[in-house]
């Protein structure tokens, strides 16, 4: 292994050496958790010789891609992307189901990962970079850097300031509404929090029982609302610090976020924690009870009935504190590609990443996709739908792109701790004070 791993080893018993010990003592197995954790771990024991990023190699060498693009449409779109690469015959793609890929990522990276693999931005990538499982790709960025905005660049770096991610596609978190409903009732897009409250009250009196649809069953959709209210009240930097637990969850600033949010929850469809976001979008799409929903464009677009797509529109979450206007920050999580530390032919993998970092590759990939947008600045936007064009505008004009709560904080803090806390809050918004203190005491146990 490389210096990174041995550095990590000095911090305590190395997992692998301990596994070996346990395995030796028990003759066959290191126990259930070890089995779960180390499915691939021990097979990579010989990494000492092959590790270290496989310096050099030829650009004409082979590259394997670990992909979570498992849905048929996305899979074939990605196959087209590979076809468009000049050395396509050297590239093999291993597609895994999206959720299993996500749940197994840690074992995957310790075992025999592919040279290049799909992953997310933010802490979710930085976490692995800090563990020495990823290969820095500053050399790739020297070539593709001009294609991206500063906000995207920042989201692609590790905590050590080196580049790790080749950004690919992203989407903003915004409030969706139907143009026809708004024009029929003479509603205006709210610019401030007060406007939003007035609008919700008006909708209620117009017979829309629950102006905002919500489905939090999967545990993450409500994180988006927390993020945006937090950024609108305390700014992007506070969000970053809170996610790194450099700020306390019992801080009055955080409590105020929940207090503010509690005002909004009275307009939610009841029983949100038991409803999937797909069901929530369907309630919204029915135009009967809930004319608005706060969700990522990546999710709402594909769930709305095709006939209603032209009627669909969105606006950025309204301003709360004038110190943090709507263009100061937004959740716009980026999906992209990383290079694993155990890459076999670095030169070939880097060349492929360089290709992925081009507008051409992104464009091929997004051809069948009406919601996500490419991250490259020279992307030909003429093929975009009206909503995609609007997404581009919002992302381009926003100074800071947050990557969403579950990507900006430690994974073991986001799930199940923050998830459960937000559920408790949604089930009983008045309990926000105890939610905050519970979050803080759990954060203290996690961020040590």
């Amino acid at each position: 292994m490389t210096s990174n791993t041995s550095a990590a080893r000095t911090g305590g018993i190395s997992r692998r050496s301990m596994l070996k010990g346990t395995a030796g003592a028990l003759a066959l197995t290191g126990g259930l958790p070890a089995l779960l954790a180390a499915c691939g771990g021990s097979s990579s024991g010989g990494g000492g010789s092959s590790g270290g990023g496989g310096d050099g190699g030829s650009v004409d060498g082979k590259t394997s891609i670990g992909s979570n693009y498992s849905d048929a449409a996305v899979k074939s779109a990605f196959a087209d992307v590979v076809k468009g690469y000049s050395r396509a015959k050297n590239v093999t793609v291993n597609a895994t189901d999206h959720n299993s890929f996500q749940n197994n990522i840690q074992n995957y990276l310790q075992g025999t990962p592919n040279d290049v693999f799909c992953w997310f931005s933010g802490n979710r990538a930085q976490f692995f970079a800090a563990q020495g499982l990823l290969e820095p790709i500053d050399d790739v960025w020297a070539k593709i850097g001009a294609n991206f905005t500063d906000a995207v660049k920042n989201a692609s770096k590790g905590q050590d300031g080196k580049y790790y991610l080749v950004p690919w596609v992203n989407y903003p978190w915004v409030m969706f509404y139907k143009k026809s409903v708004f024009s029929q009732h003479g509603y205006q897009v709210p610019a401030t929090w007060d406007d939003l409250m007035t609008l919700c009250a008006k909708m209620k009196s117009d017979g829309f029982a629950n102006p905002i649809a919500i489905g939090q069953k999967d545990g993450w959709p409500a994180m988006g609302t927390f993020d945006i209210i937090n950024m609108r009240m305390n700014g992007y930097q506070f969000h970053v610090d809170l996610m790194a637990h450099k700020q306390s969850w019992t801080d009055a600033k955080v409590k105020n976020v929940f207090k503010q949010w509690a005002e909004l929850t009275q307009y939610y469809t009841p029983g949100g924690t038991g409803r999937t976001w797909q069901e929530a979008v369907q309630i919204f799409d029915a135009n009967k009870t809930s004319p608005m929903i706060f969700q990522g464009t990546d999710q709402v677009g594909p769930q709305v009935a095709k006939a209603n797509l032209a009627d669909l529109d969105f606006f950025p979450f309204p301003q709360i504190d004038s110190a943090y206007p709507t263009d100061s920050g937004i959740d716009a999580p980026i999906d992209g590609f990383l290079m694993s530390k155990k890459v076999k032919n670095r030169a070939a993998a880097a060349a492929f990443l360089e290709y992925l970092g081009s507008a051409q590759a992104e464009q091929t990939f997004l051809k069948p996709n009406p919601s996500d947008i490419g991250t490259a600045t020279d992307y030909d936007t003429s093929t975009y739908t009206a909503l995609q064009k609007k997404s581009v505008e919002i992302i381009k004009s926003t100074k800071n792109l947050a990557q969403f709560l579950d990507r900006d904080t430690r994974p073991d803090f986001a799930y199940p701790i923050v998830q459960n806390a937000l559920n408790q809050f949604l089930n009983n918004p008045k309990s926000y004070s105890s939610v905050c203190s519970s979050l803080e005491s759990q954060a203290k146990g996690i961020f040590t």
């Binding site: 346990t22 066959l28 259930l32 771990g41 840690q106 038991g274 146990g445």
Partner: protein
């Protein structure tokens, strides 16, 4: 093998030294076969049951994640569980409620069904099949079936109650005050059928003349059942108690299918899964939860084994 040796032994010779020679008469092949037949199960037992159990106890005192190096953290996981984790005590409580509902409702219900069906009422076979059907379904499937029944907008129950608009719909599985009970109805639906089959089998074995004799002596139906039939069901009762305890401790599938074991449906087993296989990957903490479940399980297991050994001695 032993009969052959007995034949060869003169009747007047003392048994002691002969026995030693008899053992030595095991051929090498016998020894190898014996060693393999004892050794392989023992090895499997050690590797797949004792090994993981001991490793789990060990990991419960560490901060193991699957990537980071492992540090010894002492009892920190247990402190976190006891004092900080807002899910832990609800989970323990829910496991106990589960046990209580199975003991007080599901088991008597199953027994009552069995007694009724045992009396040979018309169509008893059809009833048997109906009540036993849920037992043949996997718990995950039961969870999915009941989601359709409980669905707030499209479900059978709210449909019958006429409460399907999003405003007054009863959110059976989402409301944290209701969902545990809703899921317990699902669990009871299956458990009662299970218990019923066990008791039916037991009742079939009870000699009907016992009941007739009691009736002749002027005992009421109620008295006959409790004083005569029930005591003869003793072996079945032990099995039912064990099944009830095991089923309530390993309760998992229903809550996991319903909402992953959150929001009012916390169970220790679901928490272990969430922490070990979920994105959190807190293997150390998940192991600590596993140890707690292990210790709780040891109580009924020990009780059961003591009972068994006592019976064997007798």
């Amino acid at each position: 093998m032993s009969t052959g040796q007995l034949v060869g032994r003169p009747a007047d010779q003392p048994a002691g030294p002969r026995r030693r020679r008899r053992l030595s008469r095991l051929t090498r092949r016998d020894k190898i076969v014996l060693a393999l037949m004892l050794g392989i199960p023992a090895l499997i037992e050690v590797c797949l049951i004792w090994g993981p159990a001991i490793a789990t106890v060990f990991y419960s005192f560490t901060d193991a994640h699957s990537v980071a190096p492992v540090h010894w953290v002492g009892g920190q996981n247990y402190t976190f569980m006891r004092k900080i984790d807002p899910q832990f005590w609800p989970a323990v409580r829910h496991n106990l409620i589960w046990l209580l509902v199975f003991t007080v409702i599901a088991t008597p219900l199953g027994m009552a069904l069995a007694v009724l069906l045992d009396r040979g009422i018309r169509g008893s076979r059809i009833y048997q099949s109906i009540f036993f059907l849920p037992v043949m379904l996997s718990l995950a499937l039961i969870g999915i079936i009941w989601q359709v029944v409980y669905s707030p907008q499209f479900g059978l129950i709210n449909g019958v109650l006429g409460k399907t608009s999003p405003n007054d719909a009863i959110d059976w599985l989402g409301n944290p005050h209701l969902n545990l009970w809703a899921v317990l109805v699902e669990a009871t639906w299956r458990q009662a059928g299970y218990v019923m089959v066990l008791y039916l089998a037991g009742l079939k074995a009870v000699d009907p003349t016992l009941g007739e004799a009691a009736a002749l002596d002027g005992a009421s139906e109620w008295q006959t059942f409790w004083r005569v039939t029930f005591p003869t069901l003793r072996p079945i009762n032990t099995v039912v108690i064990v099944v009830t305890v095991i089923e309530s401790l390993r309760a998992f599938d229903l809550v996991y299918v319903t909402n992953g074991g959150t929001d009012g449906l916390e169970l220790i087993s679901a928490m272990i899964t969430t922490y070990i296989t979920g994105p959190a990957n807190r293997i150390g903490y998940g192991s600590a939860l596993g140890v707690v479940l292990l210790v709780i399980s040891l109580v009924p297991i020990t009780f059961f084994l003591i009972q068994q050994f006592r019976k064997e001695k007798r």
